[in-house]
Subunit: 382 residues, 2 copies
């Protein structure tokens, strides 16, 4: 068993660990997103310094550029990006659907029983992703945790469409698992990467249950909850997250894909989720926005009800005129390089840098946001 549940707190948080070929990771954890093989704006050393234990990369992007064959030839993804800790890759399915639109909004994606035909968002070249090919790409990249190809329906899909997505997702999961098992049968226990099953089903409990049960039969190393990062701000996903936390196996790690704000993540851990990724800390940082922990959150926390939004973090934008003259760091309690517990860079300076298009500005906001996410995870383990 690659996952070990060590302890379950009364508030629902599961403390565990996942063993991978590149080391042990304590759960729950957050994965900074390094889409094309680099967490935007941040160096591997900075990630290590702030306590990142694992990062996420994108199969779709790395397949298109520079190509998994080149990465394999150069010694695998870890060596290519100079990162010796675990890497998880998503299957590319989500990117195929979300990026597979022409300038007029027309879908460039064709789904068949066999797989997904799509056009590159870079140069329009046509490719076919089959479940087997997607596993092979990830094996060639040499990552630690793989996702199978799935069908991720849009937030406006009908129940019938979502049911069809579940059926294909299950069929592809089976093919993925068979291919993966065949290709990794000679791997040592230590070397063997981990493969997740991805549960779809939208906000329908019956479909979620159906999809989860079929995938559990296939005995994956862990389970991902897909389809909830799509438009999740406008829908109430929490009932579904709670339901998933209840029906997924206790002895496997659970990954809530693409979610979310610090408050979302905090809430989801209490509903039994173990793994998270989100572009928000890096993307918000590039827009000049930073997360600040509400100082009352410790008190609030004690009365925390797992079904209400906690609201422990504020998001402020440093481009707001008032920060032009603000001599304080973003958060005097924060230990990131930007804040240095009050001895770092003032909001006035960071605001000046972003206004002047200086890279250091968004480097500092990104470092701060990622540190806050990672620090939140550290806090949740206590």
């Amino acid at each position: 068993m690659s996952y070990k549940l060590i302890k379950k707190f009364d508030n629902g948080i599961r403390i565990g660990e996942i063993l991978t070929a590149h080391g042990k990771i304590a759960t729950p954890f957050f994965m900074p997103v390094g889409t094309v093989g680099s967490v935007k704006g941040v160096s591997p050393k900075e990630l290590i310094d702030m306590g990142a234990e694992i990062i996420l990369c994108n199969t779709y992007h790395l397949f298109l550029r520079p190509g998994e064959q080149l990465i394999k030839k150069l010694g695998g993804l870890h060596r290519f990006i100079n990162w010796n800790k675990p890497i998880l890759t998503d299957s590319g399915g989500y990117q195929v659907f979300s990026l597979g639109k022409s300038k007029t909004g027309e879908s460039l994606v064709k789904i068949t029983e066999d797989g997904v035909e799509f056009k590159s968002h870079l140069d329009g070249t046509k490719y076919l992703f089959t479940p087997e090919r997607v596993i092979q790409i990830q094996l060639d990249l040499g990552v630690d945790i793989l996702m199978p190809l799935d069908v991720c329906p849009s937030g406006t899909a009908t129940k019938e469409e979502i049911k069809h997505a579940c059926d294909l997702t299950i069929a592809w999961a089976k093919r993925s698992k068979e291919y993966f098992d065949k290709k990794t049968k000679n791997f040592s226990k230590k070397e063997r990467p981990l493969l997740h099953g991805i549960v779809q089903g939208g906000l329908y409990s019956d479909l979620r249950k159906y999809c989860a049960e079929e995938l559990i039969k296939l005995d994956f190393d862990g389970y991902s909850v897909g389809g909830l990062a799509v438009d999740h701000e406008t829908r109430d996903m929490w009932k579904t997250v709670k339901f998933m936390g209840e029906i997924l196996p206790e002895n496997k790690q659970r990954y809530l894909m693409g979610v979310g704000t610090p408050d979302d993540i905090k809430k989801a851990t209490k509903l039994g989720m173990d793994m998270f990724d989100c572009v928000l800390p890096t993307r918000m940082g590039r827009h000049g926005s930073v997360y600040i922990k509400n100082q009352k959150s410790k008190i609030k926390n004690q009365n925390y009800s797992s079904h209400s939004v906690a609201g422990c973090y504020n998001l402020i934008n440093l481009l707001n005129a008032k920060y032009k003259v603000d001599s304080e760091v973003i958060d005097t309690n924060c230990g990131c390089y930007a804040c240095q517990k009050g001895k770092g860079f003032s909001k006035a300076y960071i605001s000046h840098l972003i206004r002047s298009n200086e890279i250091l500005g968004i480097r500092l906001t990104t470092l701060h946001n990622l540190f806050q996410y990672l620090d939140l995870m550290r806090g949740l383990k206590k």
Copy 2:
């Protein structure tokens, strides 16, 4: 005396030190350029780690945004940018002339006896820089080494125009010195910043001699050689640099403004120059170009003739197709974070990052180039 000449090597290199309010700096040295208060792409910590001892900022840019009054209010430039080592600011004269053009190429700058009237390149607002005002801005910024307002003629100026530029530069230098002395008379010896005189005169030895002699009479803390970074690639500036090295006082530091490539700097130190700044390492880095030390340079070096171009460095562009598959670091002998003596990031990866518009790509090339410049200076002191 703020400058101390410690030793002069047979090859002409002067080993010395400059004492400033923010510490001692060993000469010869290179100043990374932090135009608006940040060396592009690099953090203060990274500058310290690579051995930078002083940086250069631009009076003109900081005056326009965020304004020296705000910086003064927030505790001065060192505190604003979180840099506790020495800072030199140029006078802004060069920027006024080089940036003071409308979209149709028309000059937006008006020079009078009193000073320079110009329009902001950011929003077109009209300002007047007088010699006194430029000193006051730099005193408000609280920098360690100041430059007076000068007139920097273009590379195509006639001898008469250059003579006129010298006359104004001398007159303004006198006003700058008087204002500076008055404003700093109550400073302790340790606190008092240093003021340079800037020698103009184009490529005319008689004008250079005239300008230098007049400035030497005013007894500045050090002397800058201006006007040679302008179009210097198409003109032979070396006779002038050599002449300046011969006639400037031995007991004051000499600053060759805005020059140049690593080979230029190496050569200039042998002609008696002590201080350098240049945007090349950062700008070239952002374009994907990196400096690589020629491994034969040590041998070449022994037979070095101070009047021939050394050619000890090659410049390669990582966007060249051949680097897409290059598994080697930029330079296995380099100790920068990008190279790590061979254990750093491959050219293939950096090339991939730059192609993908990932910030880390140009961060790595910039770090490498700055490290090479600083390492060159370390080598020249031996």
